[in-house]
């Protein structure tokens, strides 16, 4: 029997953490640690300590411009790239939806897909 996928939850509130924990009560998935809030940023520490494979991070919608968020949700053909400036550096991300109005089954499926070995790049 394969080892369970170890998940660290980074939630915005304890209620959110509670709900996500309930949603992830699924075969083959184990929530090894829940981190609430961003104050002490112990997520990386939790990942190292528990050898986690996946982090589920709660993202505030208000952190992304509303129009951009709607664009991402609508799966428009346009690609949305995000630039985040931290200190002297700027980091670049691509924002794309893996699912909208998802349920616990979708979340579990995404977690399982995330730990599957990827095809080698050509």
């Amino acid at each position: 029997m394969a080892a369970p996928i170890r998940v660290v939850l980074a939630a915005g509130s304890s209620m959110e953490a509670l709900i996500m924990d309930g949603a992830l009560a699924q075969p083959g998935i184990e929530v090894v640690r829940t981190v609430v809030g961003t104050g002490d940023a112990p997520v990386a520490e939790a990942v190292r300590e528990h050898g986690a494979n996946v982090v589920i991070a709660s993202v505030a919608v208000s952190g992304i411009a509303r129009d951009c968020y709607e664009l991402i949700r609508s799966r428009a053909a346009v690609r949305v790239l995000a630039v985040a400036v931290l200190g002297r550096g700027a980091d670049l991300f691509e924002l794309r939806p893996l699912g909208t109005n998802v349920g616990s089954g979708d979340l579990a499926a995404a977690i399982r897909a995330a730990v599957r070995p990827r095809e080698p790049a050509i």
Binding site: S14, M15, G22, A23, S104
Partner: protein
Amino acid sequence: MNGLDQSPAHPDGRNPVRIVIVSDVALFREGLSGVLARHPDVEVLAVGPPTESSLVAAAAAAERADVALVDASTVRASAFVGRLAALLPHIRTVAFAVSDEDEAEILACAEAGVVGFVPRTGSAEELVAALRAAARGEVPCPPRVAAVVFRRLATLANGRGPATGDRTLTERERQVAALIERGLSNKEIAVALGIEVPTVKNHVHHILEKLRVRRRAEAAALVRGRRRWSRPSPSRPSAPPPEI
């Protein structure tokens, strides 16, 4: 999903609190159901979104239910609670994920008939305790939420009413009023304050009511006027400041 998902009866002989869970967010419904299924004190009869069809299904489930657990962040939460209370007066409603900073939402829920509140910072034990308390006829409520409700009661009892000018606006309503005065739309205000558009609409409704005006332009003029007259003037404290 249009109606509620009917769950099988809980195989527990300890007289659990029988509940229905209502939220717009499928993940929240399923997550909460998963959490509460671990508690022998609670039996989840049904889960679903706050739609008309689920209201009918909720009614069927609620014939046996003691408590409806409603997501406070749901767009139509207070309206749904009101309709549920009218349809099934015996069922007691607890709101979860309540922000104790959002006074307008707390008051809207309380006025709609919510009898218990579980804050965003609540634990599973607090949630279960709130459900049990509500089923016993108590009003489980965090102190800060209770303070908001009591303040409102005092205001109404003193005959000051909710329409005596912007001194009665909450901090959040003052922020929204200031942005209205700057000409921002509801959508722009939502982005600026990091809240949802329906919440902004709720605040705007309360602002218009409290300021006794019908249009946001009138509210903006009122806020602008008050600001001019309240600006400090060191040389002549009693005189109004000049027009800009």
